[in-house]
């Protein structure tokens, strides 16, 4: 068997995928892990080549400098007025300053936590547009810049007022320049989830909040009292951000059993990209809570590396498998078990990992509780105990018969 695993490692350039997939069914855990690791590595390399080819711009790096434009309630961005550059003092316009500061915090987060230089990894300029449209309850990324509305004042206030929303939009750019997750169905829901996860992490990092101190809400700072909603979305409890006559109930699922089968159309939200993102959102939350400490550290790195290893059409299963693999590569069994458990709780089982598989959970780097965990050994012990009890009962029955 060790000869086969050595063969797997040195032949990972020419081992056909169908053989690797067969190896995923092996009863030997180390063989399954080697095959999974090889399959993921080749997929990642293929994806990285595609993303690199698509993002060669030839432009000079811009040191991630920020520039803010005022749309003055218009919708045609080329008509927006330049109002603040990287070296300018604060504006008298709070929206301008909030966008400027939020983009800066998000930029600094990516640099300090992941050593990523802006959206494209090469210092891409950060252009923000504020006061877009009238009563515009939205913010978006258009492939080049981030655009923010003022809200209608009834349901929402100025969208620049939410650091997690600003981080959410910038992260769409990061996703575009890395995995390139297409904005439809499961890849689109993953795209949305990456933005919610890293948007939330930007806020947590700026506030120095640990996972158990964070609110795990997106857009909590921009809802009005009249809306009767906690936020746009909750990573901790998808489906609970709001529930009233005005908005209806938050339709986000927190488990694959409740996956929303929506058409890939405009009125189907492209297959529910803002809906089904609840499932991977919850998986990240659970992972972060299980590992403990600051969510942007171990869990954030697992997720970020997994984003870089993903491709345009990655499904939930693919991403889950990648996070499991990355957790093992970057950290250890404890973190890997946390990821395994999190995905299982949202209804996704990691490929090639048998239910109740054996693993020693050691003290994680984040200082979590140490416990030993051997599912198969525990089951064997239970069977042995029951077997002894049956033998004892049989002896008693034989004794009773003998006395008659």
């Amino acid at each position: 068997m060790s000869r086969m695993s050595r063969a797997c490692r040195c032949l990972n350039c020419i081992m056909p995928p169908h053989i690797l997939r067969k190896l995923l069914e092996s009863k030997q855990e180390h063989i399954r892990e080697a095959a999974l690791s090889t399959l993921l590595a080749t997929t990642r390399l293929r994806g990285e080549r595609m993303v690199r080819a698509a993002t060669v711009t030839g432009g000079a790096p811009a040191n991630a400098r920020r520039t803010i434009f005022d749309c003055r309630q218009g919708t045609f961005l080329p008509s927006a007025v330049f109002v603040r550059s990287e070296s300018d003092p604060p504006s008298s316009d709070a929206s301008v300053n909030q966008a400027f500061d939020g983009l800066g915090t998000t930029r600094d987060f990516y640099k300090e936590v992941f050593d990523r230089n802006s959206i494209d990894g090469r210092g891409m300029r950060l252009d923000g547009y504020v006061h877009r449209g009238r009563r515009y309850n939205n913010a978006f990324w258009d492939g080049q810049e981030m655009v923010f509305g003022d809200g209608d004042g009834e349901l929402f206030t100025d969208f620049t007022g939410s650091l997690d929303v600003i981080g959410h939009e910038l992260t769409h750019g990061v996703t575009e320049f890395t995995a390139g997750l297409i904005y439809h169905n499961q890849p689109g829901a993953l795209n949305e989830s990456m933005s919610d996860v890293f948007g939330s992490l930007v806020k947590q990092w700026s506030l120095k909040q640990s996972a158990d101190e964070a609110d795990w809400l997106i857009g909590a700072d921009i809802t009005t009292p009249a809306i009767g909603a906690d936020a746009l979305r909750s990573l901790k409890a998808p489906g609970t951000a709001y529930n009233n006559d005005l908005l209806g109930q938050d339709p986000q699922p927190d488990h694959m059993d409740r996956y929303a089968q929506l058409p890939d159309t405009d009125d189907g939200d492209n297959g529910g990209v803002h809906i089904n993102s609840g499932i991977p959102n919850k998986a990240f939350y659970l992972t972060a809570m299980e590992i403990g400490g600051n969510a942007w550290e171990i869990p954030g790195h697992i997720w970020y590396d997994s984003l870089l290893a993903s491709t345009a059409n990655s499904q939930f299963q693919d991403f889950a498998d990648t996070t499991y693999s990355k957790a093992g590569q970057l950290y250890g069994t404890a973190e890997q078990q946390a990821v395994l458990s999190a995905w299982r709780q949202v209804g996704i089982r990691i490929t090639g990992v048998l239910a109740g598989s054996v693993g020693k959970r050691t003290k994680g780097s984040a200082g979590g509780m140490a416990r030993d965990w051997d599912g198969l050994a525990a089951l064997t012990k239970q069977i042995e105990t029951l077997s002894n009890e049956v033998k004892s009962l049989a002896k008693d029955v034989a004794g009773l018969k003998g006395r008659r």
Binding site: T75, N138, A139, F140, D142, G143, T175, D266, I275
Partner: protein
């Protein structure tokens, strides 16, 4: 003329899911308002017909579908945030201020 406006996508896409389009019946408008509406629809239609449409790039974009129905037939116009023409934007602005509340 009957106008419907359906709005999809964006950060609040989940809140809009399954909502019926908003409807404006031009019978409730003054003669001047009817004329203005007809002019705005015609201008937006001209701009939309001359503009190349492609799947918009980006995320959290909202999409707007305006249907104008009269005795001559139905005109349907669709644009998203990142590719909005000035005429379509003007039509949307007018509709937002005249349509019944959301």
């Amino acid at each position: 003329m009957k106008i419907t406006l359906a709005t999809h996508g964006g950060q609040i896409a989940a809140m809009r899911l399954g909502r019926a389009p908003r409807v404006l019946n031009a019978d409730s408008l003054t003669a001047a308002q009817k004329d203005e509406l007809a002019r705005l629809v015609a201008a937006a239609k001209r701009e939309t017909e001359t503009t190349q449409t492609r799947e918009p790039r980006g995320a959290d974009l909202m999409t707007y579908v305006v249907s104008a129905e009269d005795e001559k037939g139905t005109v349907t116009l669709k644009q998203s945030d990142s590719e909005m023409s000035p005429a379509f934007s003007a039509l949307l602005d007018w509709l937002e201020s005249h349509l019944p509340a959301k």
